[in-house]
């Protein structure tokens, strides 16, 4: 049995709007002002994939898998 777990924090589509509202990104998303931190494309409800803290800011990335990998490589490993 693998005793320790790599903790992947996630938000389900059910609670996406509530989550984005909590971290102050919902308005920007609705206005079309959110940009993928990796490829620079516009991020909306359809292609939003992850939000992460980076150098005191909240960055987001789109659902292109390469962008997701790029975002992960900038994050700090969390093991619980």
């Amino acid at each position: 049995m693998l005793s320790k777990k790599y903790e992947m924090r996630a938000v389900h589509d059910y609670r996406l709007d509530e989550f984005l509202e909590n971290i102050g990104l919902l308005e920007a998303l609705e206005k079309g002002e959110l940009r993928c931190s990796i490829c620079g494309c516009r991020v909306d409800r359809d292609n939003f994939q992850c939000a992460y803290s980076f150098e005191g800011q909240i960055e987001v990335c789109c659902d292109k898998l390469e962008c997701f990998r790029g975002a992960l490589s900038r994050r700090k490993t969390k093991v619980g």
Binding site: M1, L2, S3, K4, K5, Y6, E7, M8, R9, A10, V11, H12, D13, Y14, R15, L16, F19, N22, I23, G24, F48, Q49, C50, A51, Y52, S53, G56, Q57, I58, D63, K64, L65, E66, F68, R69, A71, L72, S73, R75, K76, T77, K78, V79, G80
Partner: protein, 341 residues
């Protein structure tokens, strides 16, 4: 009067229930898989069940495969399982100060994509964490992709695998041609059953040795050369000699291919022991005894016992597997890892 309570109690198959409880206690990933199936049924009427299904379905499959991979290598290859933690109420300030990252999971109809994001996140962070900075970048990426593909194949995640090929592997190999080269090389190494028991074990050991050291180009090159060394063995034709000793600064390995059943049947293990003693003089840290077929597997086990008895090597792992029937005439293989004493 019928004592209905007694009838009820005696009709419950207690032995089966107790066996199931013990089984699930020993195999929590399988219990989680059943839980995910149950949650899926309820997911159409309950939001909580939908969340439970999405998370437990991913966790069960990844954790089961991670355990399998570790069983073929060492527990340090995948030292952690995965847990999907649903983000609760948070604030912008808390999110930033916690250095948080939150990944979106879609409704279970899109579970193929959810699984792919989870597996990529997992191998990116959960596979031999201490070794990662010391492995050549392209080799590391090809190894990660191979493990991700292996898990998706093992768990019949064909839709996820298709998305992986279409959206990741194919576009990346056009911009990074070496990725395709190493992906194929690692595939050959795996086909010859040297992936988990040798390559992953050595990378994992390297991480433990280098845990508090800075990455260096020399070590990264060593990892790349080691992959080529194993590849040459994996693709070698019968009767062709290739180097079987890789004695470098950080990775120091000898692969001992136990061949010719007639030698074993006629002379026993002595000729092999003689050759291993010569190999030992080359200063290797780890010896891998490799054999195929029942007679030579038996020889490998006897050799391992003998080497331990004379105090030359200490057995640290054994990987035995039946290979696919169409691959070779001899259907079983063994890889025994032994550390120099």
């Amino acid at each position: 009067m019928v004592d209905w309570f007694t009838v009820l109690i005696t009709s419950i198959p207690w032995a089966t229930i107790v066996s199931l409880i013990v089984y699930f206690f020993k195999n929590p990933e399988k219990a989680e898989k059943w839980y995910s199936i149950l949650a899926r049924i309820l997911s159409y009427v309950s939001e909580r069940s939908e969340l439970a299904h999405v998370a437990s379905d991913i966790q069960a499959d990844i954790n089961l495969s991670a355990k399998n991979i570790n069983a073929g290598a060492t527990e340090y290859v995948m030292p952690h399982g995965i847990k999907i933690e649903w983000a609760g109420e948070t604030t912008r300030e808390a999110f930033i100060s916690d250095n948080d990252v939150v990944v979106r999971m879609r409704y279970h109809k899109n579970q193929a994509k959810n699984f792919l994001y989870a597996i990529l996140g997992y191998v990116e962070e959960g596979m031999f964490p201490p070794a990662r900075p010391h492995i050549n970048e392209v080799v590391l990426k090809a190894t990660q992709y191979h493990v991700a593909r292996k898990i998706m194949t093992q768990r019949n995640r064909h839709s996820s695998l298709q998305i992986f090929y279409d959206e990741i592997y194919e576009p990346e190999k056009t911009t990074e041609p070496l990725l395709e080269t190493y992906f194929k090389i690692i595939d050959s190494i795996d086909k010859d059953k040297l992936f988990e028991p040798v390559l992953l074990r050595e990378f994992s050991d390297l991480g433990l040795e280098m845990i508090d050291r800075s990455p260096s180009k020399n070590v990264k090159n060593e990892t790349k050369d080691f992959v080529h060394f194993l590849h040459a063995i994996a693709i070698k034709e019968s009767g062709v000699d290739v180097p079987t000793t890789f004695a470098r600064n950080k990775i120091s390995v000898g692969i001992f291919l136990i061949g010719r059943a007639e030698t074993y049947l006629t002379y026993g293990i002595e000729p092999y022991i003689h050759k291993i003693k010569e190999k030992h003089k080359e200063g290797i840290n780890t010896l891998y005894l490799c054999a195929r077929g029942p007679q030579l597997i038996s020889a490998a086990k006897s050799i391992a016992i003998h080497l331990e008895k004379i105090g030359m090597f200490k057995k640290v792992g054994e990987f035995q597997q039946k290979t696919a029937f169409y691959e070779r005439k001899n259907k079983a293989i063994i890889r025994i890892a032994m550390k120099s004493s």
